[in-house]
Amino acid sequence: MKKTVLFGALTVAGLAAGMASAATLDDVKARGSLNCGVTTGLVGFASPDANGVWDGFDVGVCRAVAAAIFGDPTAVEFVPTTGKTRFTALASGEIDMLARNTTWTFSRDVDLKFEFTGVNYYDGQGFLVPKDLGVSSAKDLDGATVCIQTGTTTELNLADFFRSNNISYDPVPIETNAEGQQQYLAGACDVYTTDASGLASTRAAFENPGDHVLLPEIISKEPLGPLVRHGDNDWGDVVRWTLNALITAEELGVTSANVSDLSAAPTDNPEVNRLLGTEGELGAMLGLEADWAKNAIAAGGNYGELFEKNIGENTPIGLARGLNAQWTEGGLIYSPPFR
């Protein structure tokens, strides 16, 4: 008898869980805010400022999604996650989406049952070495001590790279980027390896950035993007097309400065009209207001603006667009059409 009750309760709980995850958008709307998982802090991508307001490139994606749903970019609860807690936080429903420079890999998509909704930054793993080391290629690093963040794909890539080149290394495990920076500067390791974007921002914070070089080898593909749980395609669409809206906006020249003018009345360009909701029913198909994309763009600007403001060449991090330029300019950033 007791067992039956217990199993019954479990079934109900399971059903409730299934139902809850089947309509994330409704849950978010009912809650009145989006729970967005971010890093505990990564320069340029996500960190709170002196007033405790989150800012950064990944944070921009969260704010755009919140703006698309509520018309209010501040309707976000940021849930900081570490490399170890991020996936359980998403799987357990503690957060609705994760925008935490997470690499899109086969096993994360398929085995961990997540849905990557696009790529907002194409990264790759690089090596940072002191100039004094006199190394010009990563293949000269035989026997080097390498600072490496545990629990990330970089760890596995590193092992693959050294094994395929038949050279050895000595890993120094670290927990966070800040720790890696410190260990590297203190000379605990000869080489610091992580995503090239992270290395660039790390080097920018050094007292003498010129004394350190990034080696030319990029040993991995690291497409970073926001992700959601498997099984709720409607919600996945909201996140995917919000990101696409930002990318398309840059392609079409819609910026945070001119978005309100362009959306006031239909323009000559039908795709701009469809994007901004002055023509067609795209917003309603997503279950959002007609001006969802306008709000998303107005929140922090289009993709290019977010990039320039947070990690672009005029910031201390100083990343060039490179692979992350629009496809029309030789990059990989490409959005399917809005029609």
Partner: protein, 432 residues
């Protein structure tokens, strides 16, 4: 006689010689140095080496601190101002002190609330720590947890109020029935308290004003040193009574109680704290139905309390084992029952012996609270490692931040250890 002396000796000094100073090598600084620093060749070498090291450290550290910059807006500005000279960039402390102390999302206009709770903590702890104070102050100690909760978390005052009322009702019922049987009193008290809380919950929902006097602050907005203090104080004060119960339970003659205590203690001691924290943060989230938010701080408090209670239980068991058997027999021969014997004879002595061990656990526990930074809570260390070091302004400032953190922790831990030494002296009824 004096004449005879005067004539029998050729010369007699009539006045005493003035006292000469002792030889230079046998007095003052020189003597001290000869004896303590240069008493042999190896010692002299060691002294010289030490002086050199101290010189190096001081000449490096002193300008670093003295040249410290306190008022720039970013590390890059610090470096411009210093212009290559050695100097610390303390500006990060003046810029982000509030985040270090309170976390980055506690509303700044309410900083006075945790501040006041912190000051009142001393008032509440005083009668427990210093026995000479009037016993009536203990009433405030009893109210303090609810008051502090209300101050720090805010929200409606009825929540902590009904929690307090529930406890009081439970205690009254317990006191009424315990004369008949302990079990009846205990379970009656628990049931009465639960009923009061249940009813109180409804009443709170009904009458709580929409705009409470103190604005509510979410648990996830707690951070900084405040979070370390909350975790440390709550867990130490909860784990002490639980630890005593566990220690007594482990010595019990009743097999079920004994084995429950043994299994609990051995299991918890055999698992690293960080594992328990991961369980609290990650694994529990899978088992709870989605949407239920079982407060993360509460989960962490439960785990840390269990952890330290197991250690304290073992420390106290050491104290119990150190008491001569005669003490137990003396208590029995006076006709005291178990509770009286423990309360009046055994525990006062056992706890006194255990003080250094308990303080050791408490200090260790307080420092262990920084481990919560691994499960993405922003305690003092989490604040430093996460938000502050990852801001574009302060990326790369390490020494200044971690020095500040060590100073804060040192002050608290040294305070605890000084208190425990005072307590040992105060309680020295001496077996010597």
């Amino acid at each position: 006689m004096s004449d005879m002396h005067a004539h029998s000796a050729a010369y007699v000094r009539t006045e005493t010689l003035p006292e000469l100073p002792p030889p230079a090598s046998e007095a003052g600084v020189v003597k001290w140095m000869r004896e303590n620093l240069f008493s042999s060749i190896p010692n002299s070498i060691l002294t010289l080496v030490s002086i050199y090291v101290i010189y190096q450290v001081v000449t490096f550290v002193f300008p670093w601190i003295a040249n410290g910059i306190w008022n720039t807006a970013s590390l890059a500005e610090c470096r411009t101002v210093l212009d290559g000279a050695t100097g610390a960039c303390f500006s990060v402390l003046s810029d982000r002190w509030n985040q270090l102390l309170f976390g980055f999302s506690y509303p700044p206009e309410h900083y006075w609330r945790p501040g006041l709770a912190f000051i009142l903590l001393f008032v509440a702890a005083a009668p427990v720590m210093f026995f000479d104070l009037p016993r009536k102050l203990l009433i405030f100690t009893g109210i303090y947890p609810f008051l502090a909760f209300w101050l720090i978390w805010g929200g409606t005052i009825f929540t902590p109020l009904f929690a307090l009322v529930g406890l009081i009702v439970g205690y009254i019922v317990y006191a009424r029935f315990v004369k008949q049987s302990f079990a009846m009193g205990f379970f009656g008290g628990v049931v009465a308290a639960l009923i009061t809380w249940f009813i109180g919950g409804y009443i709170t929902d009904a009458i709580a004003p929409a705009e409470p006097f103190l604005e509510a602050v979410q648990s996830r907005d707690m951070g900084g040193f405040m979070l370390n203090m909350i975790l440390g104080v709550v867990c130490v004060s909860l784990s002490l009574p639980i630890g005593i119960v566990l220690a007594l339970g482990r010595q019990s003659d009743m097999p079920i109680i004994k084995w429950i205590c043994v299994v609990f203690i051995e299991f918890i001691r055999g698992v690293p704290l960080i594992t328990l924290l991961f369980v609290a943060n990650v694994v529990l989230a899978y088992f709870l139905p989605p949407g239920t938010s079982f407060d993360l701080i509460l989960r962490v408090i439960i785990m840390i309390t269990m952890f330290s209670a197991a250690y304290i239980a073992e420390v106290i068991r050491g104290g119990l084992a150190a008491l001569p058997k005669g003490q137990y027999e003396a208590a029995d021969s006076l006709g005291l029952d178990y509770a009286q014997a423990m309360r009046l004879i055994i525990l006062p002595q056992a706890l006194k012996i255990s003080i250094p061990g308990i303080v050791n656990v408490a200090v260790g526990l307080f420092k262990d609270t920084t481990l919560v930074s691994v499960i993405s809570m922003f305690d003092l260390v989490g604040m430093i490692r996460g938000p502050i070091l990852s801001s574009t302004d302060w990326n790369g400032v390490y020494w200044e931040l971690f020095m500040a953190a060590s100073v804060l922790f040192f002050v608290v831990c040294y305070g605890i250890s000084q208190y425990s030494q005072w307590l040992e002296r105060r309680l020295a009824t001496d077996h010597r």
